[in-house]
C-alpha cells in the first residue's frame, strides 16, 4: 500500500507538471514559468512533501518528486524519439548529475557552517561575567 501511494505521488507530480507547464508558457510567454511554478510545482510539493503523500522513513535518504518529473520526460522522449534520443542526451545527463551533486554538497557545507556556534564567543562571555562579579568568583552568587 505504501509503495502504491508513493508511486501515485510521483505519477501525479510528473503528469501534472509535464502536462500542464506548456499551457502557462503558451499563454504568458517566458514569465509564465512563474505561474506554472506557483500553481503546478507549488501544489504538487504541498500534496507530496508537505502533506505527505510520498512517505519516507525518518532516516532514509530523500527522493524528491523532481525525479518522477525527469523520468517522465525521459520515458516520453524514449517512446517518441527512440533510443537515439537517449544516447544524445547522455552527456547532458552526466553533467546535470555532477552539477547537482556539487550543489547539494555545497549547500550542506554552508548549512553546517551557519548552524555551528562559535565556541570562543561563549567562553569570553563567561570570562567577562566572572571578572566583574566578585560574588561569582567567591562562589557566593549562583548563575
Amino acid at each position: 500500500m505504501r509503495f502504491l501511494r508513493n508511486t501515485f505521488g510521483y505519477f501525479l507530480a510528473a503528469t501534472v507538471i509535464n502536462g500542464l507547464w506548456g499551457i502557462f508558457l503558451n499563454k504568458f510567454g517566458l514569465l509564465g514559468a512563474y505561474g506554472a511554478a506557483f500553481f503546478l510545482t507549488g501544489s504538487m510539493w504541498c500534496v507530496n512533501h508537505y502533506i505527505g503523500l510520498i512517505k519516507h522513513d525518518d532516516d532514509s535518504a530523500f527522493i524528491d518528486m523532481g525525479l518522477g518529473v525527469a523520468i517522465g520526460l525521459i520515458a516520453k522522449n524514449y517512446m517518441v524519439n527512440g533510443l537515439e534520443s537517449m544516447i544524445n542526451s547522455a552527456p547532458t545527463l552526466l553533467y546535470v548529475i555532477i552539477g547537482a551533486a556539487l550543489g547539494g554538497y555545497m549547500a550542506v557545507l554552508i548549512e553546517t557552517h551557519i548552524i555551528e556556534k562559535d565556541p570562543t564567543e561563549i567562553n569570553s562571555k563567561k570570562e567577562s561575567l566572572e571578572s566583574v562579579n566578585i560574588e561569582l568568583v567567591d562562589g557566593k552568587l549562583e548563575v
Partner: protein, 113 residues
C-alpha cells in the same frame, strides 16, 4: 559538448538543489505551507527560466531528448540528505516508486496528447 556548454550545464544543475536546500525549508518554517508555494515561485520559477527558458539557457540539451532540471533537484537533495546521514538502502523503495510512477506518467501523457 563544448567546454562552455559543459560549464553552463553544470552551473545550471548546481543552482537548483543549492537554493532548494538553503531556502525552501526556511520558507516553510517561517510561513508554513504558503512558504512552500512562495519558495516554489521564487526558486523553481526563476531557475526554470535560467535553465530551460531563456535564449541561452544554462542546461544545454543534446540534439534530441530532454534532461529536465527536476533531475538536478532530485540528485542534489538526495546527495545532501545522504551526506547529513540519510540511509541509502532505505530509499530504494521510493526510488523504484519514482521510476515506475514517472514512466507510467510518460506513457499516459503520450496517450493523452
Amino acid at each position: 559538448m563544448s567546454g562552455q556548454a559543459i560549464f553552463t550545464t553544470i552551473t545550471g544543475a548546481f543552482l537548483l538543489p543549492f537554493f532548494i536546500r538553503l531556502l525552501w525549508g526556511r520558507f516553510v518554517n517561517k510561513l508554513g505551507a504558503i512558504g512552500g508555494f512562495l519558495a516554489a515561485i521564487i526558486v523553481v520559477g526563476t531557475i526554470w527560466i535560467l535553465d530551460h527558458g531563456m535564449k541561452n539557457h544554462l542546461i544545454q540539451q543534446g540534439n534530441s531528448g530532454w534532461i529536465d532540471m527536476g533531475l538536478a533537484a532530485a540528485v542534489g537533495v538526495f546527495t545532501a540528505s545522504v551526506v547529513t546521514g540519510g540511509k541509502v538502502k532505505k530509499s530504494f523503495a521510493n526510488l523504484g516508486a519514482a521510476v515506475i510512477g514517472g514512466t507510467i506518467s510518460g506513457i499516459i501523457l503520450i496517450l493523452i496528447m
